[in-house]
Amino acid sequence: MADSVTIRVDGREIRAGSDTTVAVALINAGVWTFRTSVTGEPRGPVCGMGVCFECRVAIDGVEHVRACMEPVRDGMEIDTGG
């Protein structure tokens, strides 16, 4: 990765290509559970195009953000609730 950024996921630092999405950065870093469903199941991205809302995470304190629609930015803080 020539161009890369550092983001923090649940306090852990990961590096990601600068032209990718939060969803891709997380899976590439081995984070598969993006949120916990209303009955406590692990969930991750499905549609990859902003429709299904399964990949919701909190980004910089804002809840319910779709990781698949969000480009990574250096210093981003991501919270999966996990």
């Binding site: 804002v62 809840e63 319910h64």
Partner: protein, 368 residues
Amino acid sequence: MDAIVVGAGIVGAAVGEALAADGLAVTVLDAEFPGAGTTSAAMGHVVVMDDSEAQFALTGYSRRLWSERAAELPPDVEDECPGTLWVASDEEELEHAVRRSHFYRERGVEAEVLDSAALEKAEPNLRRGLAGALLVHGDRVIYPPNAARRLLSNAVVRGALAERRVRVEAIEPGRVRVNGSWRETAIVVNAAGVGAPELTPGLAIEPRKGHLVISDRYPGFCRHQLVELGYLKSAHSAGAESVAFNLQPRATGQVLVGSSREFVGLDRSTNRRLVGRMVRRAVDFVPALAALSVLRTWVGFRPSTPDNLPFIGEVDEGVFVAAGHEGLGITTALGTARLLADLVAGRVPEIDPSPYSPLRPMPEAQHG
């Protein structure tokens, strides 16, 4: 004895349950499905209100009935008891809060006045600088569609029949017409909500449209049902349309925001301008609301009456009405059902039924 209840909204379902409990052979008919009409659009508050002594009597009685059966409600009714905070913007409103607290306490309803600091502590997301609030303990929030379904299934357990997609075309003493043919019955109860006047001509019920907006899940965002003390002023003011601040924490962690009122017939379209005004009002009280994510808006039609009291009682031989509950149908469903069952059975009701008589004289319509 046979009874047909027309309408399986929360009022019809409750009436069906109460009549079935009295041993009547009840059939509840709905043009769509249980709770499909105004019930499904309602906020689901179970609150005491004191617009008039009669309103207080019915809401207080009904709220007690809901709380008595709280333990038997299934989880999908989402029953919670957050209480209501009537928020005072200024000293004048706070004085009003004090008067209301006396009114409630004299009548055995637990209520207290919070000052500015106590209010801030109780609801940190309210804007700073409010004068205080009246906290009414014991007010509840439920999920109306499933509450109606539950009441109806209780009726069915007691032997009632529930039929869906059956539209009643006419009511006469001793019979109702469905698809051109008459079905005989000793008792008929018109619980058709905004549709009630079609079956009981002359009944002064008009649809009063409202909008609601619901958010995604933000558990803990607020803890009480929040209403502006100016609510009665704005909500029941004469004139074509109004908004008032009314916010409710749902059991899901969602935030439900109302309210608007307008007389536009049964127009189901979303009035974006009015929704905008309503949200503006809510954001003025709760600034942090602005950034929350909205999942849905919808409209519903309150069956309103000229004197803001429902019609509960007999209009013709064996023909009863239980309709016209405006924005309090969820609250007053159980009290209405008891009252109606008492009238049908010839028992003396727990509260005086005369203020709700469908035959009472009506004031002039209050809007143009």
